[in-house]
Symmetry: C2
Subunit: 291 residues, 2 copies
DNA sequence: CCTCTCATGTGAAGATTTGCACATGAGGCT
DNA sequence: AGCCTCATGTGCAAATCTTCACATGAGAGG
């Protein structure tokens, strides 16, 4: 039975009792209906209808088909309703991925967004590896660095994360604070162990002697912990620093420190209401993050 | 959702994960599959799949469709099996109709046929009105008289019912029996009240004075009762008379008394195994009925 | 690193399906 | 009785759908 449209045609004929009626409901010519029935009966080797001048009456076989196809029709109608609604509304899952660094900023936004859409389940994925949008692993990704140029991805500029230099109370009490850049050579810093392409990191290497970077870490989270613990002066996102009461801003944010962030979605999902709605919400919330 | 074939295509893509695989299973070109998916997504306004170089992965919507279409596929497969089997085997209902007269002859045949086909339900319809084959009211009809010529009906000659003149013991004791036709004028007869087209009835009117037909009835059954009760000599089918022990055959059957019987089926059902099987069975059983 | 394979995607030609026009026949209504 | 309506059925032209051929890109494996 490899032609579901013919089954659908037969279903309408069985339901309505006439070829003409079925043709009108289906929006096709009645000749098409007749041919569908003939083809289906031929393939099945069973008469589904008895033809007479007043229409088609279903045989036992036809009635059997009617019952099965009726449930199919109902289920497809329900499915169609669900799917269309899903396209226009914000339900189901929303999968967001980013570097773990952004978790503190993102978590409140995600929570608030979910609050607005009770039928939504939020999955927030962070991890070492990059989750791949093209395999459906996530709907929205927040990426840092150069603009990604994956062909199937829709990339749009997001905010530039405001970065500033901070020192913890513990450090301030022991070493004081530099008045300006000229005194940096007399202070200790927290920085990344490897050379990275992050602008603030490159700036640090340019303006601070390597030997003054005494606490070096392999990831952003450890870097943050080092600054908070008072191991040295270091870069932190303003939004992250605000969460600690023991930090003093050494130098205000500068645009050249901040790397651009990108919002990335897969083409196929970018136009859905769910994704669009979330992107709008996210951009609104991110206005306070600006550098 | 008015294109079940596209749903079926999407189902296979969701199941197999690739357009090419689905195309092979469906027996169509992969371009066709792509266009079906595009059309379906366009009509639903939802992306069902995320496209990437290694294939199509189903979105939430796609997975939803997969579940629904899977059950549909199963049910259609089951239906197809039932229907194909039904065409080749003898199951379900067999609806037979005839004049009530033939009930005594038909009942044993129907019972034996049903015994051979345990999955069969027999419906035997007799009644005043003629049941109409073209509306699916019956599969097989046994008709008497001139050959019916309904266009959609398949008519084939059946047996000629053997008819003979009988007298009951009660009549014989009181009036004796006629030696031959010449003595008919001295006997009393049971016959039909109205003029009918039945050959034996016309023969009776030609060879017996009207005043000797003293017991006149409106239907065959009453006619039979009259003869059995000894109201007069009368025509009975040989097969019917055999069921009574108190009847004596006055005159053996003659071909000119018997009306031809016809087996009628509707074109659409005539070629089915069920009908063919029954017709063969019936003809075999009817060999003993011959005039 | 390069090639080989297998996947999707697209424009044009070809084949099947569809629609149209008309024929036919059965009921229903006046 | 006779017309009118509504049903199915069929040949032929048109439109749609499918196929073909080819392009493109991503992995796998040496």
């Amino acid at each position: 039975m490899d032609n579901w449209d013919e089954v659908r045609t037969a279903f309408q004929v069985a339901r309505l009792g006439t070829v003409s009626g079925a043709a009108e409901v289906l929006g096709v010519h009645h000749a098409t209906v007749i041919r569908h029935i003939d083809a289906l009966e031929g393939k099945l080797g069973v008469k589904l209808f008895q033809r007479h001048a007043r229409g088609y009456t279903a045989t036992e076989a036809g009635n059997d088909l009617l019952l099965v196809a009726q449930t199919t029709d109902d289920q497809f109608a329900q499915l169609s309703g669900r799917l269309k609604g899903r396209g226009a509304s914000v339900t189901g899952e929303l999968v967001v991925t980013s570097l773990a660094t952004f978790s503190p900023m993102l978590a409140p936004v995600l929570a608030a967004f979910r609050e607005e859409h009770p039928e939504l389940t939020v999955r927030y994925l962070t991890g070492d590896r990059l989750f791949r949008l093209e395999y459906g692993e996530a709907h929205v990704a927040i990426r840092a660095g150069a603009a990604p140029d994956q062909p199937d991805n829709v990339v749009q500029p997001f905010v530039r994360q405001g970065l500033a230099l901070y020192a913890a109370d513990f450090y301030k009490e022991r070493h004081g604070l530099p008045k300006d850049e000229s005194e940096f050579k007399d202070h200790f810093f927290v920085g990344h162990d490897q050379e990275t392409r992050a602008p603030f990191n490159m700036w640090l290497r340019d303006h601070v002697p390597m030997e003054n970077i005494v606490y070096r870490t392999a990831d952003n989270r450890s870097n943050e912990d080092g600054v908070v613990a008072g191991a040295g002066i270091g870069f932190l996102p303003v939004k992250v620093a605000e969460r600690y009461s023991n930090l003093t801003m050494v130098t205000p944010p500068r645009p050249e420190w901040s790397a651009p962030l990108w919002l990335v979605t897969h083409v196929d999902l970018h136009r859905t209401a769910k994704v669009q709605s979330f992107l709008a919400f996210l951009k609104e919330a991110a206005k306070s993050w600006e550098a």
